[in-house]
């Protein structure tokens, strides 16, 4: 829980099934000023399994996932006493206002739309890293 970012890297859980998006995200977070360690879960079931054993500092969550979808993963995290304090940033290609509103109601900490252009996507992940790893005080 209490973590000194100068000595312990920030523990990020990336829940994403698209290999290209994983690649881009790792690249962007690798450039962040603060040390971080990214664990990747390729589907919702794998993510929930990982969360039974580990409590990360930050979660980046895609909505459309195999096995257990992102909405359900979000709901399970935010209803779990052990996990609900962890910031969850939804990163998804869905632009549907319903997904946005529902995610915030399910207590997503932020909702970011994946741009189609890889260069723009990279910029978005850079901004996520700059804010959540460098400006925010994580629990």
């Amino acid at each position: 829980m209490s973590r000194d970012p100068r000595t312990t890297p920030i523990d990020v859980l990336l829940i994403e099934d698209d290999a290209n998006d994983v690649e881009l995200t790792l690249h962007a977070l690798g450039g962040a000023k603060l040390r971080n360690h990214v664990h990747i879960a390729r589907d919702g079931a794998e993510a929930l399994d990982h969360l039974q054993r580990h409590v990360p500092d930050l979660i980046l969550l895609d909505l459309n996932l195999p096995k257990v979808n992102g909405r359900e993963v979000l709901e399970r995290i935010k209803n779990d006493e052990r996990l609900r304090h962890i910031p969850v940033v939804v990163v998804t290609s869905s632009q549907a206002e319903e997904d946005v509103a529902k995610s915030y109601r399910l207590n997503a900490n932020a909702y970011v739309m994946k741009p189609i252009d890889p260069a723009v996507f990279l910029k978005a992940v850079n901004a996520i890293g700059a804010f959540w790893l460098e400006i925010v005080k994580l629990p």
Binding site: H85, P87, Y104, N109, A110, V112, M113, V120, I135, V136
Partner: protein, 147 residues
């Protein structure tokens, strides 16, 4: 990043320190995304604004709330709790902006569903930088819920 919204982003700043209000206003003036800043000086006023009560009958519903924790009349924790329990308001992201670095305040705020917790730097330039980065992330990158 995402298409610039046609209407400006409405921000409610809940802050009792006039110096911090002025600095925040200054930092947001240079933002790439058009925004309107509304200020409530204490917790009671903030909730009246959000619920369009009394003199706030014509108030707009904000897209984003920046909330200090130590406030007169009703503190920031109570405002946070009430907003996040209100079905009409709970979708509005709340960024806590406070001088408190206490681990207890951080954890409690996230438990009460703060969207992000940011500590106010004492240094002026650092403060401006923090507000700019809040602006860059929440106004340029995030998709806000604007029903």
């Amino acid at each position: 990043m995402t298409a610039a919204p046609a209407t400006p982003i409405e921000i409610l700043l809940v802050e009792d320190n006039p110096g911090d209000v002025r600095l925040t206003r200054e930092a947001l003036k240079d933002a790439k995304v058009r925004n309107n800043l509304h200020v409530a000086m204490d917790g009671v006023e903030a909730l009246a604004f959000l619920r369009k009560q009394g003199k706030y009958g014509a108030a707009v519903r904000p897209d984003l709330i920046l909330l200090d924790l130590n406030l007169p009349r009703k503190n920031g924790r109570e405002v946070l709790e009430e907003v996040k329990k209100d079905p009409v308001l709970q979708h509005i992201p709340i960024v806590i902006l406070t001088t408190s670095q206490a681990e207890q305040d951080v954890l409690e705020s996230y438990r009460l569903r703060a969207n992000a917790y940011v500590t106010k730097p004492v240094d002026l330039d650092q403060f401006l930088k923090v507000v700019s980065s809040i602006e860059e992330f929440w106004l340029e990158i995030v998709k806000l819920s604007r029903p």
